[in-house]
């Protein structure tokens, strides 16, 4: 069994994001970039499945600028066997990314495609579901547990009401929740080994997909600031304020 894992390079989740002064976007120059956190869970799960003997190959793919190679390299350092970078500049919407991934799926013929449930930059939560639609494959979104049963997967999904379990036939798409597993850190020897693993580079324009944006980003602004609050000195004062000033208790 072969697993394709899609990973995205995003601003690190510990960075306080700042809006550009000209309101065209957020500041990305000289900002720490990392793998989108739930994509780390996706890689981890794929590597664990391979380690259990149920998969033979894990391929990491990313779509983006040249530097997204670092994100693919990180996936290789935690256990993916080889990488693919689809090079594309500018804003890529999930629809375009899913069409590019569709081309890779057609070429690589994986049995499973894993990725994070959502990217923490554009917060779209679309790509996995869109890829499933384009391939007409089953989708298991927001997965917090995956069990492989022959040619089927039993997946537990995090839903608003609690947990849902579904059974899907392979080939299938799974989007991973943060609670799926605990991603490992790359060891230094594995980081060195990853440097020798192959990364195939493909230009998005060579895949015959129109990636031009369909959504015009008119402006990006700071969210309205909350007005500064006050510090109270005691519990008694807090309760009085909540009762008499805010009138919420």
């Amino acid at each position: 069994m072969k697993i394709l894992v899609a990973v995205k390079r995003v601003i690190d989740y510990n960075v306080q994001v700042r809006v550009k002064e000209d309101n065209t976007g957020v500041v990305t120059e000289n900002v720490k970039m990392s793998t989108n956190p739930p994509d780390d869970n996706a890689i981890e799960e794929a590597v664990k499945i391979k380690e259990s003997g149920k998969a033979t190959e894990v391929v990491a793919v990313s779509v983006g600028e040249e530097k997204a190679q670092e994100t693919v390299r990180k996936a290789l350092a935690v256990g993916a066997d080889r990488g693919i970078l689809i090079k594309a500049d500018g804003i890529l919407e999930p629809l375009a990314v899913s069409k590019l991934l569709q081309k890779i799926v057609e070429k690589e013929k994986p049995d499973l495609v894993f990725m994070g449930k959502q990217a923490i930059d554009d917060d779209c939560n679309q790509t996995g579901q869109m890829l499933s639609a384009l391939l007409n494959w089953p989708q298991a979104t927001f997965a917090s547990k995956i069990e492989i049963k022959d040619k089927k997967l039993e997946v537990t999904r995090e839903i608003d009401e609690g947990l849902e379990t579904i059974e899907i036939n392979i080939p299938a798409i799974v989007t991973c929740d943060l609670r799926l597993n605990e991603p490992r850190y790359a060891s230094l020897p594995n980081i060195m080994k990853a440097k020798k693993k192959p990364i195939e580079q493909i230009n998005a324009s060579d895949l015959g997909v129109d990636t031009s944006p369909r959504i015009e980003q008119i402006k990006v602004e700071e969210p309205p600031k909350r007005k500064a609050g006050i510090k109270v000195k005691s519990v008694a004062e807090l309760v009085q304020k909540l009762k008499n000033e805010a009138k919420v208790i």
Binding site: V17, Q129, P138, I159, G162, I166, E216, E221, V232, I249
Partner: protein, 317 residues
């Protein structure tokens, strides 16, 4: 131009956030139709027809719609979408799972999780976990939009009498089977809709200490929330998590106890009307969004707080 709203329901009743989604959809175009897909969902369809903003209800029933599997729902909506300019749904796990499958089939670039309708094609949406707001304009002929329910008021729920049209179901998608759903039952208000939320963080130090949070929540008839750190530490189950990767809540009163205020937690609660923070670290970021901050050891302050609440006669049950 007309809008197709996808109703969320449990086959008997509409989910409350469907009313918020109706409000959002009606701001895109007042010619608003709503589709309900389910199994024996006639009662819920009737409720939908009573919403005054809904001009027509489309009801699609089959056994394979009982459990809301997106692979079964999407083809129905893609077919219906021929007659509409917009398809709209709530951005909760139901809508997040379903809408992109519809959008890709319609070759539309979806606009996710909007918090404001600026015009029929222009919307405001948070990005980077609410650290920036983007104004975006959809250029696709058909628009697929998910809306953040807490950013829109619920619509009127009675007085309407829209016509209910029944439409033939699509075929079942055979590669996905529903197995089971484990709903978390509680006597408390639901986290997403509670008027008061009391949350605990890493500062609680143990799952046992969450009893303090429970006691405060009992006094205020509040839902119980938690930070990701508290969930990761195993103090409380993850369905209580408030934040970018948990639930986004907008209560009248949010009480953060022993929560430092990581970016991802703030994203889930900073729109609350009144925020209280109790934390012994005066520099904790939570104080930057708190209306009332109390710099104190929670293990002293919270028992006192419960005592003070006991003294009040305005306890809401």
């Amino acid at each position: 131009m007309s809008v197709l709203l996808i109703a969320e329901h449990n086959n008997k009743e509409l989910k409350p956030f469907t009313l918020n989604a109706v409000t959002a959809a009606s701001q895109m175009d007042t010619d608003l139709h709503a589709v309900i897909i389910g199994s024996n969902c006639g009662d819920a369809a009737k409720k939908l027809s009573e919403l005054p903003l809904v001009k027509k209800v489309i009801q699609v029933e089959a056994a394979h719609y009982e459990n809301f599997v997106a692979e079964n729902f999407a083809p129905v909506i893609v077919k219906l979408a021929e007659s509409y300019s917009h398809v709209v749904c709530s951005a909760n796990t139901f809508g997040k799972n379903l809408m992109p499958r519809i959008a890709a089939s319609l070759d539309t670039s979806q606009v996710s999780d909007i918090i404001k309708v600026i015009s029929a094609d222009t919307f405001l949406r948070p990005i980077y976990a609410g650290n920036a707001f983007a104004t975006v304009k959809s250029k696709d002929p058909k628009k697929c939009i998910t809306i953040r329910p807490t950013s829109f008021d619920p619509c009127e729920s009675s007085g309407g009498s829209a016509q209910i049209e029944k439409v033939e179901p699509s075929e079942e998608f055979n590669n996905t089977k529903f197995v089971k759903r484990e709903e978390i039952k509680s006597d408390r208000p639901e986290l997403g809709t509670a008027r008061v939320v009391v949350s605990g963080g890493r500062g609680m130090q143990s799952g046992d200490n969450f009893k303090l949070i429970t006691s405060v929540a009992d006094k205020l008839n509040a839902a119980i929330g938690a930070s990701r750190a508290a969930v990761d530490a195993g103090y409380i189950s993850n369905d209580h998590q408030v934040g970018q990767t948990g639930k986004v809540v907008v209560p009248d009163l949010y009480i953060a106890i022993g929560i430092s205020g990581a970016i991802q937690h703030l994203a889930g609660m900073k729109e609350s009307k009144v925020i209280v923070a109790i934390n012994k670290d005066g520099e904790a970021p939570i104080f930057s969004v708190a209306d009332y901050g109390l710099e104190a050891d929670l293990f002293e302050a919270v028992p006192q707080f419960i005592e003070e609440l006991n003294k009040l006669n305005t306890i809401q049950k």
